[in-house]
């Protein structure tokens, strides 16, 4: 029977929404699901994790070195903790993508990145070429299987669990060669991009950060998260954490509205799982219309304020 270890991501004493999606992938593998919380004091985060349906047990590993969840500090501890597990799963966030390979190499395991479907405990689907092809891979069961979970492919596991919380101690030498300096986090009251039901994104066509107000206004009316194309981020209209696409965030909202975005394959890679895509673009030939459920050809500076007024 499988025994799956899920590595928890958290910040400011709160469990990340990515964890309950990762748990869904673990549940699909089957067997026991154990969530590990590495923290300075993981009690509050562990209590949240224990409530996720399908979780059998939560382990806390407390250590002052876990303050910033640095890959270099966590990896040797996870290598120790992973003994006896058949699978180790990480959320497919920048946290998991940074950390998982560091653990995999130490365990001499070839990692499965971006698991989008679990076919069996050893067979998984994952995207390649910016999601333009899907491969089914068979991973050797021994010594264990390690992967990151593509969050857009899994629903969050339900609440209502009551798993036991235990503290675990691991003996690992934690290196001091990597030091946290700071985090410039973007503060926003808008729904978080990766869990928002609706997302409105703007592209290069917005032409300035001031003009992005048009996007924010529509988003606020819709209570939507706000995203952007790489071109809009590169041009400095919005911060990097808003980028949607192959190398930005991969999202799966109910409604995605792309405004002044051409629809390059790298952008589409991030929105393939959106339920409904709306495109507003003045060029009727823009590739975004190939994937849009509803397209409106027009000048965004006229059309979008009108739309904001009517929703």
């Amino acid at each position: 029977m499988s025994k799956v270890l899920v590595i928890a991501q958290h910040a400011d004493g709160k469990l990340s929404a990515a964890v309950s999606k990762t748990v869904s992938a673990a549940v699909a593998i089957g067997g026991e699901v154990v969530v590990a919380v590495f923290a300075v004091d993981g009690a509050a985060v562990a209590a949240e994790a224990a409530k996720i349906a399908g979780v059998t047990k939560v382990l806390t590993v407390n250590n002052a070195a876990n303050e910033h969840l640095l890959a270099a500090a966590l990896a040797p501890q996870i290598v120790e903790l992973a003994k006896g597990y058949s699978h180790v799963l990480f959320p497919g966030t920048t946290f998991g993508k940074d950390l998982a390979p560091r653990v995999a190499a130490k365990l001499d395991v070839q990692q499965v990145s971006d698991i989008m479907a679990v076919n069996s405990p050893t067979s998984f689907d994952r995207p390649i070429y910016a999601g333009n092809a899907i491969t089914t891979v068979e991973a050797p069961a021994s010594p264990l299987i390690l992967g990151t979970v593509r969050l857009a492919s899994f629903q969050a596991a339900a609440q209502g669990g009551s798993a036991a919380v235990e503290s675990a101690s691991v003996s690992a030498t934690i290196p001091t060669h990597t030091r946290f300096v700071n985090l410039e986090a973007q503060k926003s009251d808008r729904p978080e991009l990766q869990s928002a039901n609706r997302v409105v994104s703007g592209g290069r066509a917005l032409a300035s950060s001031e003009n992005f107000k048009i996007i924010y206004d529509l988003a606020d009316k819709l209570r939507a998260g706000v995203g952007a194309s790489r071109a809009a981020v590169d041009s400095g209209y919005v911060p990097n954490d808003m980028q949607v696409g192959q190398t930005g965030k991969i999202i799966a909202p109910e409604l995605y509205i792309a405004i002044g975005i051409s629809g390059a394959i790298q952008h589409l890679a991030g929105i393939k799982d959106a339920r409904t895509i709306v495109a507003i673009n003045k060029d009727a030939e823009a590739p975004i219309f190939e994937v849009a459920d509803f397209g409106l050809v027009g000048d965004l500076f006229q059309v979008v304020p009108e739309l904001t007024g009517k929703v």
Partner: protein, 248 residues
């Protein structure tokens, strides 16, 4: 200070990927290949650091078949001083590539290992982190700013929450994200000069690397196609359509 920069040959990012009808993979024959875009950024960063006097020698390195030589020639045209070609045909998975790259890094006694954050063919996003892990070195992934200062590096990273800055002791592994820089266009004289620069050919066995078991691809399929929707003429029509689907 010596820097090693890993460069991978991949299908060009502009190519429309075709999945083979028999499910055995994607069509790569007769398709334009170029240096993985993230590796161009890693190369550019190394060259800029050399221009600033922080790095003294740049060694480009690749793991792959004979055709990878053209990728090394591009790296040499960017400004690498010399190159290492770990010549192995067939599929090479990240852990195996990482073992070979780590062995070469150690052998060269370099101080910085630059890689792209991911290769746009396998989209694995693993190799740099694995090199760091195998050598017990610090890693600073998804870099958007790199400063080298004596025996340490200060790196700003693009993370989901925003921008994180780390300080790492050298030697270290740094992986490049898109906004680290904009790679230069290669000029003809540099391309000509690159033809004369040396490429040292190695192999897994010369580096003492044994490829592991790895993943077995059993099938490759095309993603579900999104059907082309409808074009509405006015904002009112759009609002009505969204209401009709229960989205407003």
């Amino acid at each position: 200070m010596k820097a090693l920069v890993s460069v991978k040959r991949a299908v060009d990012y502009n190519v429309r990927i075709q999945v083979k009808p028999d499910g055995s993979g994607v069509v790569t024959e007769g398709v334009k290949h170029s240096m993985n875009p993230f590796d161009e950024i890693a190369m550019e960063e190394a060259v800029r650091l050399k221009e600033k006097g922080k790095i003294t020698e740049i060694i480009a390195i690749t793991v792959g078949g004979a055709k990878n030589e053209e990728t090394l020639r591009s790296a040499l045209a960017f400004g690498a001083d010399r190159a290492i070609h770990i010549k192995e045909e067939g599929e090479i998975q990240p852990l195996t590539a990482a073992k070979a790259l780590a062995a070469a890094f150690k052998k060269e006694g370099a101080q910085v290992f630059f890689a792209g954050k991911q290769a746009i063919d396998d989209d694995a996003n693993q190799t740099g982190q694995m090199v760091a892990s195998l050598l017990d070195l610090p890693q600073a992934t998804f870099a958007s700013k790199v400063e080298l200062d004596g025996n340490k590096a200060t790196v700003t990273r693009e993370v989901d929450a925003g921008l994180e800055t780390l300080e790492v002791d050298l030697p270290a592994v740094i992986t490049a994200d898109l906004r680290l820089n904009e790679p230069r266009y290669l000029k003809l004289p540099d391309i000509m000069k690159a033809k004369k620069k040396p490429i040292d050919v190695q192999s897994f066995s010369s580096l003492g690397v044994t490829p592991g078991a790895g993943l077995k691809t059993t099938k490759t399929s095309a993603p579900p196609k999104r059907s082309k929707g409808i074009v509405v003429k006015t904002v009112d029509e759009l609002v009505a359509a969204l209401k009709g689907k229960g989205l407003l």
